[in-house]
Symmetry: C4
């Protein structure tokens, strides 16, 4: 191919043209040009919006990358000799040791679901830490590309629109992190309450730690210090779990908002007559850039998504399995249901937020449908077919696509599973609440006290 | 975009043109113009057709909206200080209390499928009441839009065609409401019969109420008045349940009939040569309007559909689970099977009527397939592709689409579930009807006695 | 629409043109014109091919229609006062009585899978009889239409090609009817053998009849005559069952062979250059006619297909359920497995033959893919898109489409079901064939004894 | 059709033109012309790449075809009177006898999963041998066609690119064959260890053989020679199993690499402006040739794929079923998990490698999406639609397509199955690791002992 240089020149020319066309159309948008790096307040970029949340993550050893609060993504750096990197490595190794202890504990005693839970919890969070470490390496490049595409898209006019995404991200983060903390505190309260009434071990602190971290105290003799350490890493792991879910949501909000921006412009001209072909070409290219961005992001965060989804599904199944067990105290029952509802709610939130990317990517179809006969041209048709045929969505390593349909099929499977479980535990089919049908004694006990 | 005003003018011009084209084609149709509001007898609108059925619903506290029997949907009003609104609120609160009683009852005793049924029944009907209340607020706007689109479509020529939809809706309503009442009376008869033979409680009325509303009499001491009250709200709840299903069917008939109207016109020209491009443009726009109407209606009634479907599926599963239990008397057995068949029949009716929207929306494809080579133009192709690619259907909050395919997959799941259940209950595999294989005693008892 | 008459004239003109174009292309095919009804030997029509098989069916009371061996389908008549109609009615009523007896038997004793089988067998075959009676009414019209389309398609040149379909239908019929008979005789032999060794009833004939028709002898006192009568209707029912499957296969062969005929012509020009647009138009219309034929046939035989598929699936599930039971004698074991393999084989045959319609309908795609750039025109594109987008297949009342994919999903479900069953029956996990692991006694018995 | 000869001439002309166009584009590629058969080093053909692996297979009686290491596939011959053919026949018969012995053993004793495994293992590998024998007959023709298409595609420029596929194939073969051997040796070690500690049989060799081949020694009296023979054929069968999987992987690498070659060229011009229509026509034809090759190969190896997939799935299910059994020694536990992980890993490898064909075949879509407005022409559109609509993949006899989606649905089914299994085995829900909740004795034993 000899044409290369010539072609690159012509292509860049074309892109410049597209830019000019856009500027003519949105003639009001005399916004700061791409180059100027001075006035960065409220630019509305994703990089800006996630800064604070990444700082919080770094406290717990996730995403050890420098410059997350900088003014421009080009300042992002991944350095191996830095405090946050060392913190991350330290946490990773510690949780790796915990995982090994769990595995050893399982291999030495009878395999049980209850034990598998300990191992899975440790293992999944270890994987989270490792994946975020891996992502941190790719983060600088990813953010630069994301920034580039954000700048390439038509700029938002109003401060309100620019702040919207950042506001949404912050609210979701607050809600998830606080509810996660609340759930964890509740778990501890219930555990402490049970420990205080432990019939075999007098010291409540010892009882608490021994019930909470059996994998540790099977091998090492009990000491308060070791218990506190285990508790500390347990907090780290719990944060990693919540943060994995939160991260998928944040990414999804960021990507969906880009589609929304395009859709807003498209819906403004819905049903109007006399739209120029240039307009469709321009927006097709914008749409294409966002689809490309989704692809790049998907490749980068694929493992994190897979961990988030499988981990949540596993724990939902485990909890459902336990839902029919008799709980020792009312506190346990109460915590169990709160925890299950929280878990299902969070999983639903992850699923629906990530499905929203796909939902938004399909919306332009509605605009194409109402294009008038005169304006219907080969460019609209091409745009239409691309939107209709391609499935734009985050994926779990290309095995499944995160769409609304997936949410339903997963929910259906879980309900079927629960129905089968209930069926297994159904032993006494003669109902005990109908005084005329049930055995007299049970009936009396219920009806008369 | 400066073009707006100019464009709106041109677009309206276009729509007027389309209208003229249509009038030229259907030159016979010198029907009352859109404006005239005098002679409203048998206009064939959906608003007219559902008037009476909504009045009945309002007696039971559903859809508290004024003006349902008015001549024009613009007269519809949702008022907060009205008798029907207060009635609705009163019923809602009462059933809310019943739901709380069920929840309390469940939380205090062992979790059982039989008890879950009480709770689910109360909870689902509470949700129905709330959703219909919510829908009542949106109803006036929805009906105006529906009316506008009905008037925009080519008018039906014959009185017979106009009355068809209303007749269909009335027949279905009659059948469902009467069969529902019959089923409820049968249930009461069986309950009364069992109560009369109750070994523990002498008073048959008391026995009946205590067996029917255990959630109430666990907390409150028994009194006949309280029992009657519980019965009254039970009737309200039962009506709400039936009406939810009926409502989905009515909505489906209304929407499907619009597609049928378009299809009738299209099938008239099937296989003919010399169809003008204008014709296809016109009908594509009509088709698009109906699709839009389906979208608006779907958004408004999404929750009601979801309640109807999930509620029915839940009760089918519960009944199937019970299908293998031993029933105390033949009356119970008889009622059980009648009730199950009725439940499955009603669920099938809801599914198939709502799937009919999708079926009708796909029919134009057959017409496009037989367009001759000379008439094949870009407009037919566009119409063809839109019909082929879009799935027009009511949805359960966008999670699933109500199509024939869904009916099959749901039926398949239920059959599998029942097979697994039968398998669980299969204990004695040596058949007792073959005198040569079975144990002698059983065999003798069957064959000779 | 005033244009109608003019248009019909022009359309017929077009079709005549298409016919001329075809005759020019296949200039060698100077075959008997459509009108001549003299030399009907080996015309290769479906009507001819199924004549004999319908005569056989009429002996067993199925498809009571006159003129099945006539020279032209226009001679077909459905008459209510004819011997074959009365025979059909008589059989139907008799099997209806048997079904009622089964239902009564079930309702009086404990519900059991084994008993359900009796009822389902009688009920399904009753339905078959009724559906074939219903089809017989539509058959004359259906055959005329089928004949018309067969004549409209380009005629086959060679006697060999013409006889192919009829030969295939005859072979399949022979194989299925004979194997079905063999299976039935084997069942009787096994039953007779068991009856001869019956410990409770001395008379082997009585034992045989009582074990075979428990639903009859629960109500009526035993008599040899009644037993023989039950046996007779049992043979009728068994034939109806086999014939339902056979009929679906025959219909599928008939329809698939039409697509094959078109495909043969299309594949002759695969990869060639210089194909005229006329050619594609012509074959698109042929293709369209066959698709229409599939639609008409599907509507007519929908119920028969549904009965065939559900009946077979039900019996496969039942047999699998029994597959793990202990059989009383080796003869029973042997019969059981032969019977199960036969059942699965026949169901597979029905599925694959009907899926072949869909397979054949998709084959033209391969030809379109190799059309050269010069010949690629709007007509090829239209043909291509119609073939690619439409799913042409027989359906089970529009709920599912009979394609290869369906076969797999059904097979998958059955295998999963069997795996779950095996799991249930798995009680003793310590294998008894490993002398070092199993309990000593069992091991010894196997290894040394 | 009189046009045939003329058309063939014109079509060949066209293909020659395409070749010329290509040569002009890749003007650097002055590679050895198609005809010259001299300098065959590193040609990069699939035939070359699989030579050595086929030789190894022939030692174990698979693929008895001559000339696999020849310079040109036209030298391949399938001869019935040759040593490798006789070896193959001998192995086939021997394993057939083993299969019969297993069947006899099963039919005489109680049906058990453990025994079914022996039979399935023998039967599946027998089928493998037969299918490879069948494939050997088709292999010469298949390789010639494959070679023809490889030569028709644009030639690779660099030696590195040419050797890549062969290198990949060799590495995968090495890994799979060695890990398979390691797994087999491990199995033998565990068996020998168990035999040495056998409580019933003193002679460890006898104990080993009797536990390993119970189907043989149920009928024949024990002798060391017979045991060794059984071991020998067991090795043959094990190799056949591994090789079946390996073969599917190799075929997949070969086909995917052809798509990669085309994709590399397409991605070079991604986003460039001024691509000539000729280019798209040319690459569409290349793409079409590879699709055709996939079709031919799929038909030839369909049975082998089906055996590979079903066999692996069956053994995974069996192993999962056993995963919850108590193992007699730690050695058994260790071997069990290693073996299960190996089995799942190999199945995943087969699935993902075969899914890669489909993945690669979809990649051109990305290039079409970024074609500029000026270059968008009917040829790009046609190419685009063909790539988007056709599913190019290996299939299991057309029942299912080997895509990434299939992998997920299979994995999902397996996980669900395992969850149900765990549920069955869950008996004691009170966890034994929480000292405060569990029964005191167990707790003490774990915590303090």
């Amino acid at each position: 191919m000899k044409v290369s240089k010539e072609i690159v020149r012509r292509y860049n020319h074309l892109r410049r043209n597209v830019r000019q066309i856009r500027d003519n159309v949105n003639v009001q948008s005399v916004l700061p040009a791409r180059g100027s790096r001075e006035d960065f307040m409220y630019e509305g970029t994703f990089f800006e919006a996630v800064g604070t949340i990444l700082v919080i993550a770094q406290l717990f050893g996730l995403m050890p990358v420098h410059g997350v609060k900088a003014k421009h993504p080009s300042k992002l750096r991944f350095r191996k000799c830095s405090l946050r990197f060392l913190l991350c490595i330290f946490y990773t190794i510690s949780i790796f040791i915990l995982t090994l202890l769990s595995l050893y504990w399982i291999s030495r005693t009878k395999l049980e679901f209850g034990k598998l839970v300990f191992f899975t919890f440790d293992f999944a969070n270890l994987m989270s830490l490792v994946c975020f470490l891996d992502l941190a390496r790719k983060w600088p490049k990813l953010m630069v590309e994301w920034y580039r595409i954000e700048k390439y898209l038509p700029q938002l006019k109003y401060q309100f629109d620019k702040q919207k995404m950042a506001y949404q991200i912050k609210m979701v983060s607050l809600i998830i992190l606080f509810s996660s903390m609340a759930e964890h505190l509740l778990a501890m309260t219930v555990g402490a309450h049970a420990a205080a009434n432990c019939p075999t071990i007098r010291d409540p602190i010892k009882a608490f730690y021994m019930a909470s971290y059996p994998q540790v105290f099977l091998i090492f003799p009990y000491s308060d210090a070791l218990g506190s350490l285990a508790k500390f890493f347990n907090i780290i792991a719990t944060f990693a779990w919540s943060y994995t879910d939160l991260f998928v949501i944040i990414i999804s909000i960021g990507l969906a908002s880009k589609f929304q921006q395009i859709n807003n412009d498209l819906f403004k001209i819905k049903g109007k007559v006399g739209i120029r072909t240039n307009f469709w070409t321009e927006y097709r290219i914008y749409y294409r850039e966002i689809v490309m961005l989704v692809g790049i992001v998907d490749t980068a965060v694929a493992k994190i998504i897979l961990i988030s989804i499988t981990n949540n599904l596993f724990f939902i199944c485990v909890q459902l399995l336990r839902s029919l067990d008799k709980k020792p105290t009312f506190a346990h029952t109460f915590y169990f249901w709160i925890s299950l509802i929280y878990l299902i709610g969070r999983t639903l939130a992850v699923s629906l937020y990530s499905a929203s990317i796909n939902d938004e990517s399909k919306k332009p179809l509605e605009v194409f449908r109402s294009v008038s006969r005169e304006d219907w041209c080969i460019e609209v048709k091409r745009f239409d077919e691309e939107v209709a045929n391609d499935t734009v969505a985050l994926t779990g390593m290309k095995f499944f696509k995160l769409t609304r349909k997936l949410v339903l099929s997963v929910a259906g499977t879980i309900v079927t599973y629960e129905l089968v479980l209930i069926q297994f535990h159904q032993d006494d089919n003669i109902s005990d609440w109908d005084p005329c049908l049930s055995k007299n004694e049970t009936a009396k006990k219920i009806v008369f006290g």
